[in-house]
């Protein structure tokens, strides 16, 4: 499957991603220092003590010197530095840990996106113009019309408050002590993935409607194949190509959407850190979070590009 050409393609893309990540880090480094305020300043601490603190963290050096030191540490040791707010907290392991949590939530959201999207799309297409189709299509329209934070708030209201007697407020319970088990994951993942699942459902339905009218499907039926085999093995595989095409933008949407969802659900991932570090002016964490996001987006695009090869053997790199 992975030909020499594919490997070269992967190598080129990895180099490109690395350059992109460095560019993002540099832009954020220079940009974040332009924001008013910093992590160290407060109402009580000013004058000489403040100057000493700036000196302790090397923040009194010229910006370009700070930038040079930062880049040397990043490129040679992968070291993003230390938090300015939480003393002694190394940023590289911190954001890697948080990245793991975000990937977990995002990955599960992608399962919802693809699973529910395909389910709704397939069922709606094979039940075209029945009440099933109308219900699923309407649900899809509602899904992609609503931002994920609205869906998340609504789900919290329903499952966290109205059904608290049944659920025991599962979604808050243990959130701080994040274990990443399915009891914690499913609701935020659903809120994150459902809008995109609706898009996949619409696309799958349209694609399936086109495919199931093809001659080869009619031939399969004439041969007496079971309907499940026809749909699952013959129709769906071809209908998936356009769906795969939009998986790249969807994956990026899920990654960036996690910022809102993690903050709403209190999930200690990269999205929550994104907001908090900017508010705290914790320079190096902000840079670390952006760097991780840049890497994630690049890698997600690469994975989607490689999926084309798997789904459609005609595509070669």
């Amino acid at each position: 499957m992975f030909t020499r050409g594919t490997l070269i393609f992967i190598g080129q893309r990895v180099v490109l991603i690395a350059f992109t990540v460095l560019a993002v880090s540099s832009i954020v480094f220079l940009g974040i220092h332009r924001l008013p305020g910093d992590a160290l300043f407060n109402e009580h601490l000013h004058g000489e003590q403040y100057a000493l603190l700036l000196h302790h963290y090397n923040l009194d050096k010229p910006l370009l010197v700070q930038y040079r030191d930062f880049m040397i540490a990043l490129v040679t040791r992968g070291d993003l530095g230390e938090s300015l707010v939480n003393r002694g907290v190394k940023i590289t392991p911190l954001v890697l840990r948080e990245l793991g949590i975000s990937v977990e939530v995002g990955g599960f959201a992608l399962v919802f996106t693809i699973g529910l999207g395909l389910l709704f799309g397939v069922v709606a297409s094979v039940r075209q113009n029945t009440w099933v189709d109308y219900v699923l299509s309407t649900t899809s329209v509602i899904g992609y019309s609503m931002p994920n934070f609205v869906i998340a708030s609504f789900l919290i209201l329903v499952f966290g408050k109205w059904l608290e007697g049944v659920t025991g407020g599962t979604f808050y319970y243990q959130l701080g002590a994040w274990k990443g088990d399915i009891g914690q994951l499913w609701l935020p993942a659903f809120a994150l993935g459902f809008p995109y699942a609706s898009i996949v459902a619409r696309l799958t339905r349209a694609s399936m409607l086109e495919v199931i009218r093809q001659d080869y499907i009619r031939t399969a039926r004439a041969k007496g194949l079971r309907e499940t085999v026809i749909v699952a093995r013959h129709a769906l595989r071809n209908a998936l190509i356009p769906v795969i095409t939009i998986l790249g933008p969807l994956a990026i949407g899920i990654i960036t959407g996690s910022v809102v969802i993690e903050n709403l659900f209190g999930i200690p991932g990269l999205g929550k850190e994104f907001a908090q570090s900017i508010l705290n002016r914790d320079y190096f964490i902000v840079i670390g979070v952006f760097t991780m996001y840049a890497a994630m987006v690049g890698l997600a695009n690469l994975v989607v590009d490689l999926l084309y090869v798997v789904i459609d053997p005609r595509i070669r790199y």
Binding site: P36, G37, L40, F41, N42, E43, H44, L45, H46, G47, Q49, Y50, A51, L52, L53, L54, H55, H56, V85, N86, R87, G88, V89, L94, F112, L116, L119, V123, R127, Q128, G160, E164, V166, T167, G168, G169, T170, Y172, Y173, Q174, L175, G176, A177, W178, I182, G183, Q184, W186, F190, I212, R221, E227, T228, V231, F265, G266, P268, K272, Q276, N280
Partner: protein, 586 residues
């Protein structure tokens, strides 16, 4: 088209539905009362991780709230905010000239690793804190500044392991010459000049007066406090695990030397971010407390009102006055360094005085507290600059600047500025990051317009730039406030006014200093508290007489405590120690 088999459709639908409801089931708590619960684990959320627990550098509220359970000093504040002995066996003997403090230590005090606490540990801890104050730019190094030799130690610029080497060698550059240990259980501190406030300063929780274990510190000079293996203190609890910015666990120290002996065996803290989420989680039974760890003032008014209106929750709410006062500060001096000018300066004489008074009397402070915080998370500041509940508070309604008298205000304005030229184009500055400051600014603008007929422009300036500009005297009047560090009036007056602070041109928001104020402040700071208190109250009256500020509101904290939790609560400054808390069957 041939329809799909119904079995296939059902399978798909059942699968989808199952994924939606998966994990939706969970337990719920049913509060009750009874004897002690078998599981003595206390769980509560904080809204941001602590910055550090190292007493030498800790300066944030959360640091100190958590750290107070791990570290002790020679003296401490009790729950009523009196300074009482802690590691010291009794209050220190103070020489008649007020320059020598002799502490006798308890002989049964140990660190959580079993090491005995001796006077050498006190010297190491205090010299370390003093020598880190310069190189690390710490906030509370100055609490040790009265000790002879502090300026030498705080002039140190060496950090990390090299500083530890100097401390181990008792190098003179990192040693306060006024601090000695005649024997293993006696510490003598010689002061440069009398400082009646000093004991209050070194009683400040998880701060420079605390005692740390050199054997633990030297293993990782900067970050020893973050590793459960080296986070050694003398307190009733020790850290057992820490996932930075996610969660922390603590366990009771067995056979702890102090009292009360902790009933809790474990404390689990989650780092959440939103007060609303934390309160919801509390209501759903995930936590036993809300508000501990320095987050009692983060709750929204709407959440608190909802809880007050909920029959089975309203009794769980504890509203506790805290230690912050917010006021409007006038620019009292205009000179080459303070270019804000304005009509309120001391140089403007009686006219400026009347203008300041007019603007003060035109504000309905009780209505302000109702509008900006529902009279829940703040209360009208009617007893002077120092917050209610702290030493130096003048008493309810004792501050004439808190009065609301729009008629008199209008008359004063008319006599002081008959043509309106002095009050034309006035601008009030504030930092909008804190919503209550923005709401207050809008309210003040409306009051001055309504009651004085003066249109005041509002300017919102981001916090950092605002503080710098206000210290530089760039605004004719602006939002101001102070959060007390320890319970002593010196903390307020020395931190805000007077030439010793640097007023009018350095480190001073109002620029206010007069020879009489400076002299009385120096006298009061040198006296023991009992003798100094009348002087501090006289200083308050000077500020009132000169109309240096317009009082707005005092802060109030909101705690939620489950009915099965006893011993939890707070005074103005800090949460009651975890050692006081018990969990009952529920």
């Amino acid at each position: 088209m041939t329809p799909l088999s119904s079995r296939f459709l059902k399978a798909l639908c059942v699968g989808g539905a199952a994924s939606l409801v998966l994990g939706a089931c969970g337990g719920s708590n049913t509060p009750g009362t009874g004897g002690l619960a078998a599981d003595q684990t206390l769980k509560f959320p904080i809204l941001d991780d602590y910055a550090t627990l190292d007493p030498a550098v800790a300066d944030a509220e959360t640091d100190q709230e958590i750290g107070q359970n791990m570290f002790n000093g020679l003296v401490k504040f009790d729950n009523s905010l009196n300074v009482v002995p802690d590691i010291a066996a009794s209050m220190p003997a103070v020489s008649s000239d007020g320059l020598t403090y002799t502490f006798t230590l308890r002989k049964d005090v140990t660190f959580s690793n079993g090491d005995k606490v001796t006077s050498k540990d006190v010297l190491y801890s205090w010299n370390r804190a003093a020598s880190m104050s310069g190189a690390y730019g710490t906030s509370y190094g100055g609490n040790l500044s009265p000790i002879v030799g502090y300026s030498t130690a705080s002039g140190n610029k060496v950090v990390g392991a090299k500083l530890e080497t100097l401390l181990e060698a008792k190098d003179p550059t990192v040693t306060m010459s006024g601090l000695t240990a005649p024997d293993d259980y006696t510490v003598v501190a010689k002061l440069k000049s009398p400082a009646g406030w000093w004991l209050s300063a070194i009683a400040l929780t998880d701060s420079t007066g605390m005692v740390v274990d050199q054997n633990a510190v030297k293993q990782d000079f900067d970050n020893w406090w973050s590793n459960p293996a080296t986070a050694i203190g003398t307190g009733p609890f020790k850290m057992t695990s820490r996932i930075a910015k996610q969660s922390e666990d603590f366990a009771a120290v067995s056979n702890w030397w102090g009292s009360p002996k902790p009933t809790l065996t474990k404390v689990h803290i989650d780092v959440l971010q939103s007060a609303a989420s934390a309160i919801t989680a509390y209501e759903q039974g995930s936590y036993d407390l809300y508000g501990y760890g320095g987050w009692s003032q983060a709750a929204g008014v709407a959440d608190i009102k909802r809880i007050q209106a909920t029959a089975n929750e309203k009794d769980q709410l504890l509203l506790q006055p805290k230690v912050r006062t917010t006021w409007v500060t006038f620019n009292m001096v205009s000179d080459a360094s303070r270019t804000g000018g304005g009509p309120f300066t001391l140089a403007g004489g009686q006219t400026a005085h009347d203008l300041r008074m007019a603007f003060a009397l035109a504000v309905d402070k009780k209505k302000l507290a109702e509008v900006v915080c529902g009279n829940i998370l703040c209360s009208a500041a009617t007893g002077g600059l120092i917050t209610k509940g702290l030493t130096g508070y003048l008493g309810d309604g004792a501050d004439p600047l808190a009065a609301y008298d729009p008629v008199k205000a209008k008359a004063l304005l008319k006599s002081a500025d008959p043509t309106g030229t002095k009050t034309a184009n006035l601008t009030y500055a504030y930092d909008p990051e804190t919503p209550i400051f923005k709401d207050s600014a809008v309210f003040l603008q409306d009051q001055w317009q309504t009651n004085l007929g003066v249109k005041v422009n509002l300017i919102a300036v981001s916090h950092h730039a605002f503080i710098l500009a206000r210290l530089a005297g760039k605004y004719s009047f602006s939002r101001d406030g102070w959060q007390a560090d320890y319970n002593h009036p010196q903390d307020w007056f020395s931190g805000l006014y007077g030439s010793a602070l640097g007023c009018p041109d350095s480190g001073c928001t109002s620029g206010y200093s007069t020879p009489a104020f400076d002299a009385l402040l120096a006298k009061a700071n040198a006296e023991p508290l009992d003798a100094a208190l009348p002087d501090y109250k006289a200083l308050s009256q000077m500020l009132i007489s000169d109309v240096v500020y317009i009082p707005l509101f005092y802060s109030v904290g909101a705690f939620l405590i489950k009915p099965y939790v006893s011993g939890a609560g707070s005074n103005n400054f800090v949460d009651y120690s975890w050692a006081n808390i018990q969990i009952h069957s529920h």
